[in-house]
């Protein structure tokens, strides 16, 4: 099973931009230790959320035919804490895409507040320069990911925009 760390997509513009939501809850056990009495979302997990949002955007651009792997964190800057009960909006854009890789930029917001800026590089590993071979089966994009796309595939995303769900 794949580990899914975002809740759903609310906007999807193929090959260009995608917006996803991540709800943070105290039911996530790591928050009890990070930190005791002061639960805040680890920044590494904000990068993971952005990597999933951007990675699926990059994967969809090639119709999920490529194995898309996070290859480089170009930039990760954090401005505020994220606490249980917060709904994060992850807004990812494709900056460049080539046969062997893609670069993305992303912003995480909470209401109108900018939480983080995260720019990433993804590799299409079958096109890697070293000519290494990987399993035929696409182990990156499995059926589980379709659930995340449910709303946007049905075209109901516009009535469910992040702004209308956020009250700051």
């Amino acid at each position: 099973m794949r580990w899914i760390w975002i809740d759903k997509f609310v906007e999807f513009h193929s090959g260009q931009r995608a917006v996803a939501i991540k709800n943070v809850t105290l039911a996530e056990e790591h928050l009890h230790d990070h930190f005791p009495g002061f639960p805040v979302m680890p920044e590494s997990l904000m990068i993971e959320a952005m990597a999933q949002t951007s990675g699926i955007l990059v994967g969809e651009a090639k119709k999920f035919q490529e194995k898309v792997i996070l290859a480089k964190i170009k930039k990760a800057v954090f401005f505020h804490y994220v606490r249980p009960g917060d709904t994060l909006i992850l807004d990812a854009k494709i900056e460049s895409i080539a046969p062997e890789a893609a670069s993305t930029s992303g912003k995480i917001t909470l209401g109108k507040k900018l939480i983080a800026e995260i720019d990433l590089m993804f590799s299409h590993i079958d096109q890697n320069l070293a000519g290494k071979k990987f399993p035929e089966e696409n182990f990156v994009f499995t059926d589980t990911f379709e659930l995340l796309m449910h709303d946007v595939l049905l075209g109901s995303a516009s009535s469910n925009s992040p702004e209308s769900e956020q009250n700051g």
Binding site: A71, K72, K74, E95, S96, P99, A101, S103, M121
Partner: protein, 131 residues
């Protein structure tokens, strides 16, 4: 909008500082991208993407860093060294490159050392200021 070599160098320097997380004084003309600045394979693509944006040009795959097509052909590589044909192909693809000692001992493991900051600047110079 011709740019001087110094202008190009300045912009390349900015790109490399951001892409590789190095200091400005490390990005000298002769610094090797891998050996001196710690670049890995994904960084080369990152650099290409950034240069395309900054200079508003398209950099075709393998034009700036044509190592792959050289290494994967038995005509060009024999026993870990570039052949005469391989060397000629390298010169043909990268006329702006300084081969130096490499021509005497064209070990493919040293191919990476040929890609210096100066190589990028020369490539862009030839590309931007071509008639």
């Amino acid at each position: 909008m011709a740019k001087s070599r110094d202008q190009i160098f300045g912009e390349v320097q900015e790109v490399l500082i951001d892409a590789l997380g190095v200091d400005d004084d490390e990005v000298t003309d002769g610094a090797a991208l891998m050996g001196d600045l710690g670049a890995e394979s994904i960084d080369f693509l990152d650099i290409v993407f950034r240069l395309e944006k900054v200079f508003e040009i398209k950099i075709p795959r393998e034009e700036l860093f044509p190592a792959e097509s050289l290494m994967n052909s038995p005509d060009f590589v024999n026993k870990g060294k570039l052949t005469e044909t391989g060397l000629a192909e390298l010169k043909n693809k990268m006329p702006y490159i300084e081969l130096g000692d490499f021509a005497d001992d064209p070990d493919i493991n040293k191919l990476g050392d040929l890609f210096t900051v100066g190589t990028i600047v020369s490539y862009l110079d030839s590309k931007l200021n071509a008639v």
